[in-house]
């Protein structure tokens, strides 16, 4: 018996701008097709602080953006350079403590401490990670996971940098609007900056390191140098988020090396869709507020949180953004076979 079988057919939308690399902007229709999704994201992020009720939720958005920066940095390293880095917390902690020192000891204002801590912190993190860069895959992941734990224990055991109490008395931002729009602006800047970077020539080399590092060596390029540049960029994002975090909390402590900063960005990347760069941001916009909402449930929070994560992984394993992009760029229809 022959059963009537159907399958879903997917057809790319016949619009020039979609064809990879050739940006033929021929009409308003194509321009809007290209610009609207980006505009929705940018404007949406910018008006979010205005529409949210109360300071509590505005603070949640700030924290979301800080996690989003980390998630974008994780996505960049994992999907465009091939380094699965679990050391996000190390970047945050380094950036945080540097900011704290620059602010309390040298008395620099936040406008100076954040860029300085970003650059110094990124250099420091890159230098410290340099010996592990020849490692690949799960080995690099494990070693990079060790760094934040190591830093935490060193500060605790030697009682340096304020020990378990941390460093207090750090300046906050001028007001909460500066705080929010600065963090949101930085996040959007890095999001589009990294997207641009991975499509530039050096970005292609990064992707080459991920796909086939032997061919990169055979082309006369030192893989370690390119990995170091990539780690510097990712660490800069991590350190910057740490620097902002410290100014928001007006306190820097060993909890900045907590594994939350390593794990939550990864979960956000999985949910949002790895390799899209926007996905991790979307993932953070989903996960961080959910995590806040679930606070009412007390210790059951982790259970619900895990259930939501499992649900996403089982039913939308490709990630929200990949799914969304497919729906946006392709027609779907059923055909009989």
């Amino acid at each position: 018996m022959i059963k009537d079988q159907r399958r879903k057919e997917r057809i790319d939308r016949g619009i020039k701008v979609r064809s990879d690399g050739i940006y033929a902007m021929m009409s308003w229709r194509e321009l809007t097709y290209l610009v609207i999704p980006r505009l929705v994201l940018i404007i949406g992020m910018l008006i979010l602080p205005l529409v949210l009720p109360g300071m509590y939720w505005q603070r949640v958005i700030t924290i979301t953006c800080i996690y989003a920066l980390l998630a974008i940095s994780f996505d960049f390293l994992a999907h465009f350079v091939g380094l699965v880095c679990l050391g996000g917390a190390f970047f945050v902690g380094t950036g945080g403590y540097l900011t704290a020192i620059l602010n309390t000891s040298l008395g620099l204002p936040p406008l100076l401490t954040i860029p300085l801590a970003t650059l110094l912190g990124a250099s420091l993190c890159t230098l410290l990670l340099l010996p592990c860069l020849p490692l690949r895959g799960v080995f690099f992941a494990i070693v990079s996971l060790m760094y934040p734990l190591f830093a935490m224990r060193v500060i605790e055991a030697l009682d340096i940098l304020g020990g378990t109490d941390g460093i207090i008395g750090i300046d906050s931002f001028a007001n909460r609007w500066v705080e929010q729009y600065m963090v949101i602006g930085i996040t959007l800047l890095f999001l589009f900056g990294v997207r641009r970077l991975v499509n530039m020539d050096i970005g292609l080399v990064f992707r080459g390191v991920k796909d086939n590092d032997q061919a990169i060596r055979a082309s006369g390029m030192n893989i370690t140098i390119f990995k170091a540049i990539a780690v510097f960029i990712a660490a800069a994002m991590g350190c910057m988020s740490g620097a902002c975090l410290v100014h928001i909390y007006m306190w820097s402590g060993i909890s900045q090396f907590a594994l939350d900063f390593s794990i939550l960005p990864i979960a956000a990347t999985v949910i949002g869709g790895g390799g899209t760069l926007v996905g991790p941001l979307i993932g953070c916009l989903i996960l961080v507020p959910i995590s806040e909402l679930l606070r009412d449930f007390g210790t059951l929070r982790i259970v619900f949180y895990s259930l939501i994560l499992v649900g996403f992984i089982v039913f939308r394993s490709e990630g929200v953004m990949v799914y969304g992009q497919r729906k946006y760029h392709q027609f779907e229809r059923w055909t009989r076979i």
Binding site: R217, A218, M221
Partner: protein, 262 residues
Amino acid sequence: MSKAPILQVQSITKAFGGIMALNNVSFDVFEGEILGIIGPNGSGKTTIVNCITGFIKKTSGHVLFRGKDISKKPAHKIADMGITRTFQIMRPYYSLPAYKNLVIPLFSPRARRTGGWRGGGRLGDRNTVGIDILEEIGFERDSYVPYKAAATLPTGYLKRLELARCLALKPDVIIGDEIFSGLSMSEIASMVPLIERLQMDGITIIMIEHRLRELFRVANRVMVLNFGEKLMEGRPAEVMADKRVKEAYFGSQEVEEVMTHA
């Protein structure tokens, strides 16, 4: 063909644990020639490529390039000096279109030095050079082939892409690890003139091959490896006539065929 050896391999030995993959192999490669390296499976052909190009460490021995010892240099330094290689198992940058695959080698220090790409660093320059190189190597410029993702290309094009990746560096020496394997007769027939043209451009070529008939057509000299040792070296006709070579290849139908036709 000038008589200066561009590459001198001096008694290379490589042991993987107790197994001697290469035992005291020496040979010279002269500027502008095509040297074929043949041998039965497991005779150390690919190992010798890896040793010359620095992808694995030699147990002992030296490699001289234009008289300079390059034995201790890392792989990317050797490629930077102009000794490029293709891989037997082609692994292009799958997610990228074919011409974007060439942007990556064109980004290398050597390509910048040798003028592998023109222009002043504005975006897009490497793209056009990449397409130029692909056209040279047999990708039709006006077709969609150079713009297709490397993952969707057939083997013949992937082999060409491997060669193009070498050419992007403006190399002095190309070491081709089984360029012809896995190709149909007609694909090989179109590759042979390409190899000959590269030789005419002054590039020295070392070809590791299993496809003897095609290799003997293009090679100036052939070296035979067996169980990690150099069996003999000579012109294709001499190699074909040699009794030891026949013994090493005993049972291989193609060799029998080539030998009887010779």
